[in-house]
């Protein structure tokens, strides 16, 4: 790769961040009397956490050439699992560590959902789109089943501290869950770009047949990709449980899959696989939360935001196409 190509690569990888900065500046120009305050930034960040955490897993899945439509349902299911664990009577001394148990159980439930997706996809050889379209209904049904179709109320314990927009420890500035998300993103970026497993996943997304011939254990890698995505989903589920003030709501996050995919695509990923960026996904999720915040601050009706986000996704994909043509 020559030097100018390298510069272009850097620019394209920064495109989502530049879009985000441009959006912040644009809103500043449109409405100088309604600036972004510290509380705005805090709420934008905490509202990004669930989409972004799921988006991290989705980035890996999309990089490997797959898709996971079941994430919204699996978040609801993991949230209900967390609530059930919190409601279990484990004696009077359980209070400090019961939330940790709920966290582990929810992550486990999410990882199981992901692994089940991966198993169906690899063992039956069915397209991921179809498999996860099926499990989208299945996990939602399971969530309603174990919750008896109504929210399961429980105490969130210290988990509620994680998602409070204004943290109780002032020097954290933003909610602990935001820092957790950033740390996870850092880990996911290393996993994707610096490990054999990550490179294998991206290689499968670029050209599955070539990867197979080169000796990549395609099925095993894919199975792990979906399970890791599920782990992220389970974590998002427990955060969702906490954000609802300690309720496991089986009906929550219908359509999360589309927002997570939108974040990944706005972040510069190609839906055909092989190209994806953790950093880009974070920017994509932040951009959508920013739009949400600003359209509320400016008093726009709900539909204006939908019109806008729709076209941002289209623009992102259009850019991806143009880029693809240049490279080829």
């Amino acid at each position: 790769m020559n030097r100018s190509g390298g510069v272009r690569t850097v620019l394209t990888s920064l495109a989502p961040a530049l879009t985000l900065v441009a959006a912040v500046l644009l809103f500043w120009v449109i409405a100088p009397d309604r600036p972004l305050g510290l509380l705005d930034v805090r709420t934008i960040l905490i509202q990004t956490v669930i989409v972004a955490t799921v988006g991290l897993g989705m980035t890996l899945v999309i990089a490997s050439g797959g898709i996971d439509l079941s994430v919204g349902s699996a978040v609801a299911l993991s949230g209900v699992v967390a609530a059930k664990v919190m409601n279990a009577d484990l004696g009077p001394d359980a209070a400090p560590w019961q939330p940790a148990l709920a966290l582990i159980a929810a992550c486990g439930a999410g990882a199981l959902c992901g692994a089940y997706n991966g198993l169906l996809h690899t063992l039956l050889g069915l397209p991921a789109f179809i498999v996860t379209l099926g499990t989208l209904g299945f996990y939602r049904g399971a969530a309603k089943w174990i919750s008896d179709s109504s929210p399961v109320y429980a105490k969130a314990g210290w988990l509620s501290e994680w998602v409070a927009p204004i943290p109780s420890i002032p020097w954290l500035v933003v909610a602990p869950a935001v820092w957790l998300m950033l740390a996870l993103a850092f880990g996911a970026a290393i996993l994707m770009h610096r490990t054999v497993f990550g490179r294998h996943a991206v290689a499968i997304g670029s050209n599955e047949e070539a990867a197979r011939r080169a000796g990549v254990p395609v099925r095993w890698v894919k199975l792990r990709v979906y399970a890791i995505c599920g782990l992220c989903v389970g974590l998002a589920g427990v955060l969702q449980f906490a954000r609802l003030g300690g309720s496991g709501d089986p009906t929550v996050q219908v359509g999360l899959e589309l927002r997570a995919i939108a974040a990944v695509v706005i972040g510069g990923a190609s839906l055909t696989g092989g190209v994806a960026s953790i950093f880009g996904t974070l920017c994509g999720a932040l951009l959508m939360a920013l739009l949400d915040n600003r359209s509320t601050a400016l008093g726009w009706p709900n539909y204006v935001q939908e019109l806008l986000v729709g076209h941002i996704i289209i623009a992102a994909v259009a850019l991806d196409r143009i880029r693809g043509r240049r490279l080829s």
């Binding site: 305050g37 934008i44 509202q47 409070a164 003030g245 915040n293 509320t296």
Partner: protein, 333 residues
């Protein structure tokens, strides 16, 4: 990724001075109060009526600006939590909220209280303290509505016979209160026997129809029927029609819908107990404005229910409750 947060933080820092810019709306009048009205969803007629009431308050009270914004997806608790947080950070002057969940919305309402943004709760309760977490709670007195229906039904039945109650759904607080009020009122008629097999209509018209048919099969000798919400009333109406009992048995329902209004006109439904969402939207916004302007506000307000019969359904007041002209109320062409 850290840089993203940094950009947001930095931009917030450099924009701070704009905060202090005096906001005037021409002619030196003080800036209008921005009141956010948050329903459970934006498309149902009930919430459109709330919107219409809020708009009415906006027109009547000078210097008020209403923003009607629901969760992006109907009935999504997470999005309503996010929405209230954003309204707080956007520094709306007050928030009027119909909480989707009595627990989940408590944290964002407390966030508003901490930011000194008054919140008025309407339609459904919140597990907080009135006067501390929120200013006022404005809703239908559902128990009184049920009692009103029970009294009327008892009179229509001449104080004797069997009366059938089709309940709505387990765990639904508002309809449970209506049922409770109804049962208490019926106890005031010693000659009436209450048939209450604790059967629930379920969420939709279809499930209600099925439950109603089953009940009518085992109780064919009934002299009166009460249902506590729109879908159960409609399901019961279909079942009564199928058995050729519609119009022959006194039947009181709750809430309004076009089909139910037609059935009322045809004499198939004896009376409909209706809430007043327009008044609810109006009073909630007025309470928020009064509070902001330093006037005392009642901590609890009942927006009232009305019992509408065929004879009264064409009076202007009742007509407006049954089928309000939302388009003109909302000021849309």
């Amino acid at each position: 990724m850290v840089s993203c947060a940094a950009v947001l933080l930095a931009s917030s820092g450099c924009e701070k001075p704009a905060d202090k810019k005096p906001e005037t709306a021409g002619g030196g009048t003080p800036a209008s109060l921005r009141i956010a009205v948050v329903p459970k969803g934006t498309t149902h007629e009930y919430w459109q009526s709330i919107h219409a009431g809020a708009k009415q308050a906006e027109r009547e009270l000078q210097g008020v600006e209403i923003t009607f914004r629901g969760p992006q997806k109907e009935d999504d608790r997470d999005q309503q939590v996010s929405l209230v947080e954003t309204l707080v950070s956007s520094r709306y002057d007050a928030i009027v909220l119909a909480p989707l969940d009595s627990r989940a919305l408590l944290a964002p309402v407390k966030l508003a209280a901490a930011a000194k943004i008054p919140v008025v709760i309407m339609d459904s309760g919140l597990d907080g303290k009135v006067g501390e977490d929120f200013v006022s709670y404005i809703a239908t007195d559902n128990k009184a509505g049920g009692a009103m229906a029970g009294k009327k039904l008892g009179e229509l039945m001449g104080g004797k016979g069997k009366v059938l109650l089709l309940r709505y759904q387990e765990g639904s607080a508002s309809t449970a209160l209506r049922e409770e009020g109804f049962v208490e009122a019926i106890r005031g008629f010693p000659g009436i026997e209450l048939i209450d097999p604790k059967r629930y209509a379920g969420a939709t018209r279809e499930t209600a129809q099925q439950a109603a048919e089953n009940l009518l099969t085992t109780n064919s000798d009934i002299g009166g029927v009460f249902c506590p919400n729109e879908s159960s009333t409609y399901g019961m109406l279909l079942a009564l029609r199928a058995r050729n009992m519609a119009g022959k048995v006194p039947f009181i329902g709750f809430d309004s819908a076009r089909e139910l209004v037609d059935a009322l006109a045809a004499g198939e439904v004896s009376a409909l107990t209706v809430q007043n969402p327009i008044r609810m939207g109006y009073l909630a916004v007025k309470a928020a404005v009064d509070h902001l302007r330093g006037q005392p506000v009642e901590p609890l307000m009942d927006t009232g229910v009305a019992l509408i019969t065929k004879d009264t359904m064409n009076t202007p007041e009742h007509k407006n409750l049954l089928s309000p002209d939302l388009k003109s109320l909302l000021g849309t062409p």
